[in-house]
């Protein structure tokens, strides 16, 4: 049984390691083989970018060698896919090779797409790549006061990022002794400050307490860099001196080009995680069109479900588990405090008051992540 995993991010890596352990006997006996194709020889801890953007983590802390994270039995190639040929059970790659499979897992993730909003890429700072996070920390360092506006596109990776960056910027300017010279203004696409109602109920009074102003029902339409004006689809305008954006995201181009899903999101069964209409193609993490958070924990919990199911398909011919929509997100709340939101398809989150203990656990998780990617935590 040939299992081909496309993508070496969190979901793909956890799944590959999980499967390599579950199928140890089958791999040794030559009855199963796991191959991973990735676009990079390095694995990035993406949540670390938020810390890089405010100068509290260095860029070299973001990376590990991808091969070092994988079980030895996994065949790993840096050879990104250029075309999915699902009717023939194969993919074509950048090197010109063709890889066949019995089971395919697509875990190619998502990318920010600021270019979809006129003026956004040129006139805002963001933190979804190493390059942009470094640019942002430099821009913050040079900033001496004025109005900082946070704006949020839909859909975006990491649902807590808008709140977290607001709280972290509040601390950042406080630590620099210029908080009184900075107006922090937060905008959000729907009628409250976060999509999760209970999180919004907690966050809005925190904003009030910290002097962070906010405006809801604000969907970015365009940015006029000459007049430093941000315009919304709802017809309102906001002036800024420094614009911080959480841009809308899209799936990977190769997914779209191969006709697997509009904007790169693949129609995916929400409990079995197979691509709609394909029993031997599974989808993980940001790449799915499932209406849940595009977050590392989503990919993690989906990977655990899929690991059990694909191993069971190899051993018994049937899957044994269903994904219940579980997501767990830390929320950095500033002043060395954090909380978390945990929910699934049927149970909403009930975040507790932020504490220092959760913040320190989050910082520990920033290191423990590598154990998690290896499938040990």
């Amino acid at each position: 049984m040939k299992i081909l995993i496309i993508g070496g991010g969190m979901g793909g890596t956890i799944l590959a390691n999980n499967l390599a352990r579950r199928l140890q006997g089958e791999i040794k006996a030559g009855k199963a083989r796991i191959t991973m194709l990735s676009a990079s020889e390095r694995h990035m801890y993406q949540p670390g970018l938020l810390y890089v953007a405010v100068g509290s983590m260095s860029t070299d802390e973001l990376y590990r060698d991808q091969k070092s994270l994988l079980e030895h039995s996994i065949e790993f190639h840096v050879d990104p896919v250029t075309e999915f040929q699902l009717d023939n059970n194969r993919v074509k790659s950048q090197s010109g090779k063709t890889y066949g499979y019995d089971i395919l897992v697509i875990a190619t993730g998502s990318r920010m797409a600021p270019e979809t909003i006129p003026g956004l890429a040129e006139n805002s700072e963001t933190f979804y790549t190493e390059e942009t996070a470094v640019s942002m920390v430099k821009a913050l360092r040079a900033f001496q006061g004025g109005k900082v506006v946070i704006t949020v596109g839909v859909p975006h990776k990491c649902p807590m990022a808008p709140l977290e960056i607001a709280f972290m910027l509040n601390d950042y300017f406080k630590d620099r002794g210029i908080r009184d010279k900075v107006q922090l203004h937060y905008t959000y696409p729907i009628g409250r400050v976060h999509s999760l109602e209970n999180v919004a109920k907690w966050a809005a009074p925190e904003f009030d307490r910290l002097g962070i102003t906010y405006e809801t029902f604000f969907n970015i339409k365009e940015v006029d860099g000459a007049t430093k004006t941000l315009k919304s689809e709802e017809g309102t305008e906001v002036q800024y001196d420094l614009l911080i954006s959480i841009p809308a995201h899209r799936g990977m181009e190769v997914v779209e080009k191969s006709g697997l899903g509009q904007n790169g999101w693949i129609p995916t069964n929400r409990t079995n995680l197979n691509m709609e209409g394909r029993d031997n193609v599974f989808v993980l993490g940001d790449t799915t069109d499932i209406p849940i958070s595009k977050a590392g924990s989503t990919a993690h919990f989906e990977a655990e479900t899929l690991g059990e199911n694909i191993a069971s398909i190899v051993k018994l011919g049937i899957p044994v588990r269903q994904y219940d929509g579980k997501v767990f997100c830390f929320i950095e709340a500033g002043k060395e405090r954090a909380t978390y939101a945990m929910f699934n398809y049927t149970t909403p989150p009930d975040p507790k008051a932020p504490s220092k203990a959760i913040h320190w656990f989050k910082l520990a998780y920033n290191k423990l992540y590598w154990t998690s990617a290896r499938g040990l935590l």
Binding site: T116, V154, P155, P159, P189, I190, G191, S195, L196, E197, F217, N219, E233, E234, G235, A248, Q262, N263, R270, P291, I292, S293, G325, V327, A341, F343, N344, Y345, T346, P348, P349
Partner: protein, 76 residues
């Protein structure tokens, strides 16, 4: 020809039905319709509120077995 898209946001707490609609509309043409399926009764209010604010058309809302179906036409 008007395309009708079902946005199945049942069980979605985050990003939630309205955010799913906002993302879905970006992939649709002006004149197309979206029917949002939501298990959050709040959708019956917050989707029409946003739709009115932004200038799309709310075509109707109905409840069927604890699922709210909110239909919207993309106007711009």
């Amino acid at each position: 020809m008007v395309e009708k898209r079902i946005i199945d946001a049942r069980g979605s707490f985050c990003p939630g039905p309205l955010m799913e609609l906002i993302a879905g509309l970006k992939m649709m043409q002006v004149g197309d319709e979206a029917e949002v399926l939501s298990t959050d009764k709040g959708s019956a209010n917050d989707i029409p509120e946003w739709v009115k604010k932004v200038g799309h058309a709310h075509l109707g809302t109905r409840e069927e077995g604890n699922v709210w179906h909110v239909t919207v036409r993309k106007m711009k």
